[in-house]
């Protein structure tokens, strides 16, 4: 077996070690490269900035712990921004497996900002039905969520004063890791009940949501850890996403180098085979 052949069939554990080191070392020794802000993330930030205090901001935390590394920092940055802007935050989830995580997240961010449950924010929790919940909320928010996650009746909560349905929501952001997620919020929510909507998603999902962005069906998109890092930079509170960008940079570069190496060996093998066939003929 030639060197090129051996290299093409390299033990996968070597690749795992390379990726592991590329993730670990930048986390231990951060470089802090500057992050360029993309227009799609800026438009979410700008829209949030344009909202007057006490506007109703709905955050749908539609992901579970599997997507936590990418979407949790997005939620943290958005909540920090919303609380700083004194918006009325209505949080919920369409993913039952993400309920506990979402509750912890909202409570933690509210405590950090010194906000009061029921007055400044509410966590509605999860309701069965997936996309049907969005339709129900569009008809009557109190039928879809008669009580919040803590079991308190939603009717009469100061934070929901004047809010009867999705029509009364000023701005909604769905942080979705699949179905139901951003697309469901557009089809069953925004398109029917007319409110402004933005999305957040994992890095691999982002290319699939660009058609919604380009057509104006969503006014902004926060894609993956990079999007979260951009939002953290915009609000001036650098957190986990910015810290993770060095690790992501290193792993992306490692994968590019691996792909280039693999192609070099592949072409070297092809040339060898071609030369051999020429010699034999």
């Amino acid at each position: 077996m030639s060197f090129s052949e051996r290299m093409l069939k390299i033990d996968r554990r070597i690749i795992f070690v390379v990726i592991g080191l590329c993730t670990l070392l930048p986390l231990l020794y951060p470089v802090g490269l500057p992050i360029k802000i993309s227009p799609e993330v800026r438009s979410v930030y700008d829209y949030m900035e344009s909202l007057p205090p006490h506007s109703v901001f709905l955050l749908s935390i539609d992901f579970d712990p599997a997507s936590k590394p990418e979407l949790h920092p997005q939620a943290v940055a958005l909540l920090r921004h919303a609380f700083r802007k004194d918006l009325r935050v209505v949080a919920m989830t369409l993913w039952v497996s993400g309920t506990g995580m979402a509750e912890q997240l909202v409570t933690q961010m509210a405590q950090e900002a010194g906000k009061e449950n029921g007055k400044d924010y509410v966590f509605l929790g999860w309701s069965p039905g997936g996309s049907a919940v969005i339709i129900n909320m569009g008809q009557d928010l109190y039928t879809a969520f008669p009580s919040d996650y803590g079991g308190r009746a939603t009717k009469g909560l100061p934070v929901l004063d004047g809010v009867y349905s999705l029509k009364d929501v000023t701005y909604a952001v769905s942080l979705g890791a699949g179905v139901p997620g951003v697309e469901a919020w557009y089809v069953f929510g925004k398109d029917k009940y007319k409110f402004e909507l933005a999305g957040g998603c994992t890095g691999v999902m982002a290319p699939g949501l660009y058609p919604l962005l380009r057509s104006g069906q969503i006014n902004g998109l926060i894609g993956g850890l990079r999007g979260a890092a951009e939002y953290e930079s915009l609000i001036g509170q650098k957190g986990r996403a910015v810290a993770g960008m060095d690790a992501q940079s290193a792993t992306h570069l490692a994968i590019i180098v691996l792909v280039v190496i693999c192609n070099l060996f592949y072409f070297s093998l092809r040339r060898q085979a071609k030369l051999q066939s020429q010699r034999s003929s």
């Binding site: 093409l8 390299i10 690749i15 795992f16 990726i19 592991g20 993730t23 490269l33 500057p34 360029k36 993309s38 579970d64 712990p65 599997a66 997507s67 936590k68 590394p69 497996s97 506990g100 995580m101 912890q104 309701s127 069965p128 039905g129 997936g130 049907a132 919940v133 339709i135 129900n136 008809q139 039928t143 890095g203 982002a206 290319p207 699939g208 660009y210 058609p211 962005l213 380009r214 057509s215 993956g224 990079r226 960008m245 060095d246 992501q248 940079s249 792993t251 992306h252 570069l253 490692a254 994968i255 590019i256 691996l258 792909v259 280039v260 190496i261 693999c262 192609n263 592949y266 072409f267």
Partner: protein
């Protein structure tokens, strides 16, 4: 009649709710709300069906001691343990600020396990990219170059090394990717509309399952 009745129900429901979307009357909206409630109830029953089927399948595996029956036992213990913890805690992860057993299972088992599963993907993607991402043809080479540019443009280090990669990757995502995705979406949607019509008008009947007429 066993065939005709489901077909009739499907046709009436299909046509009614297709029309409902275009009728913004309170009665029509109320009807939609009621039906979404039915959907939630049916979803609940589907969950019971799914869980009981899962239990049955793994019970057979354990009884017959088929290969990997130990994993089925772990699954059983996981499901039963979580259900019991959830029932005892009334579905709450914390009560008066202190974590319940259900909360413990969620925070210290489910969250790290799901996170680990997702994180492992990065390692497998790198390994798979090394083994199969080769410029075997002109089309593959174009895909490879586009992927490298997007990967560079999506991280600060890539933009630092090749400043133009950021703008080029934005263009690839916003123009090339969006237009192709839109074309696929339109195609899929037209297919879905055609299939819906076939189901509504009883041309497509495979959803009724097999069996005698």
């Amino acid at each position: 009649m066993r065939r005709q009745l489901p077909l009739l129900i499907t046709m009436i429901a299909g046509l009614t709710f297709a029309a409902q979307y275009y009728i913004p009357h309170p009665q029509s909206e109320q009807m939609l709300t009621s039906v979404t409630k039915w959907l939630q109830i049916i979803g609940g029953f589907a969950l019971i069906l799914g869980v009981s089927s899962l239990f049955q399948q793994h019970a057979v595996k354990i009884r017959r001691k088929e290969s990997g029956w130990g994993y089925s036992l772990v699954l059983y213990a996981g499901i039963v343990g979580t259900i019991v913890a959830g029932l005892l805690a009334n579905g709450k992860e914390s009560v008066d600020g202190s974590m319940t057993a259900f909360g413990w299972v969620y925070s210290f088992m489910m969250v790290p396990l799901q996170g680990t599963m997702f994180a492992i993907l990065a390692f497998f993607i790198a390994s798979a990219a090394y083994r199969s991402f080769r410029a075997r043809s002109r089309e593959a080479a174009v895909l490879l170059i586009a992927a490298v540019i997007v990967m560079m443009g999506r991280v600060p280090l890539g933009e630092y090394m090749l400043p133009i990669s950021g703008d080029v990757s934005q263009w690839i995502l916003n123009v090339l990717n969006a237009s192709v995705r839109r074309a696929i979406l339109i195609g899929v949607s037209l297919g879905a509309v055609a299939l819906s019509f076939k189901i509504i008008f009883g041309v497509e009947r495979s959803y009724l399952g097999g069996g005698k007429e």
